[in-house]
Symmetry: C2
Subunit: 226 residues, 2 copies
């Protein structure tokens, strides 16, 4: 067995489409089972490397911002019946994959990516991998819904750090786009003027000369993070 037994990772991959926050969810062939993208760690691989490779395989982007935010270590969190169903539906050898039905402690991560850069690709066990609005996530297997909830909570607590907006937005963006990211994450509307004043006072934004054009009104400045 090339993997570290009983240890896995799962990843809540956040993207922002300009309006709402979304996450990537995969569906297994012929089972109706939904799950977070996840995987295992090879015996000589760093955790970070394993997760990076997993995210890259499924989204095609490298060097994603990743935060490993919590372990889920309940011995009862495994769901061997669902796992067996997935293996059977994919004609996998049950004997050989028995270890997958055992107990797993999983390392919960969240990733922040620029929605537009992504071309989601299902893995060999999965039918599809798609974006789901954070407010309409389907029932997921095992404790994956809990992992999503906790990831969102952590994200909300960390929103003041510029690194978050940086990873959900293109390199140059308008003040309005930045506000929309905040609103999508916090799930509340913010006051335009106060938001703008606050952001500018933080001294983390660089204003650019070139404006954003194409709409029938005053063109907004473009900003990037310093």
């Amino acid at each position: 067995m090339k993997f570290i037994p009983n240890l896995s990772y799962d990843c809540v991959i956040f993207g922002f489409n300009g309006k709402t926050l979304k996450i990537l969810i995969l569906e297994y062939h012929n089972t109706g089972l939904f799950a977070l993208p996840g995987g295992f760690i090879k015996k000589n691989q760093s955790l970070q490397d394993a997760v990076n490779k997993g995210v890259e395989e499924r989204t095609g982007i490298k060097d994603v911002f990743l935060d490993q935010f919590q372990i889920f270590g309940d011995p009862e969190r495994a769901d061997p019946i669902a796992m067996r169903r997935i293996l059977e539906a994919n004609n996998q050898d049950l004997k050989k994959n028995e270890w997958m039905m055992g107990r797993f402690i999983t390392v919960g991560h969240y990733a922040l990516i620029n929605y537009e850069d992504v071309d989601p690709k299902p893995d060999h066990l999965s039918d599809s991998i798609d974006w789901y609005d954070i407010n309409s996530v389907p029932k997921l297997m095992m404790d994956h819904n809990e992992i999503v909830d906790r990831a969102l909570e952590v994200l909300r607590n960390n929103i003041s750090e510029k690194i978050i907006g940086m990873n959900l937005l293109p390199p140059k963006f308008t003040m309005k786009q930045l506000q929309q990211v905040f609103e999508a994450i916090l799930d509340q509307t913010l006051r335009r003027t106060s938001f703008q004043r606050k952001m500018l006072s933080l001294d983390i934004l660089q204003r650019h000369e070139k404006l954003f054009e194409g709409k029938a009104h005053k063109a907004p400045y473009l900003y990037s993070f310093k």
Copy 2:
């Protein structure tokens, strides 16, 4: 083997003696090696249960506040030479304990306890377990110094939550003591009046009639968390 292989936990146990923040560090017999208290997880045990038991064994207190704050998953973090030295110095069977020299992914925790309640007890491999001032932590084995640094960082970020002061202080305390906890954690002095006003406005404190006596000045009120 009754433990989950390649997985361990380590714990930064914080206490507050009224002046400075301290942590518990253990020293292995005849080796001069210092380390954080840690351990392994049994195959059918929850992570939380394992850590709780470990902390209880060494401090004698149950139901400690524990936050599992980060995984350390670098495959190079193991130090088989030091581990062998510890086993040899304790006359342990090297063959039987070979697994301990392998690679470990460790789950970093921090615990907050009331300094006065504690009677630290070394485990069977260790000489001693003692409080060390957070500013004079010795060189620890493996990446344990990094774990301490990260724990302190996380603690600083979480200080506004009442749960932290609650676990580092006795049930009733003065405003000054509370301020000293904040100052020790943040490593900076705070303004007395602003601090007091802020704490009272948070509506998390209960003021008691009984005052704290024994000093040659106006007696401060005692408070507890609501």
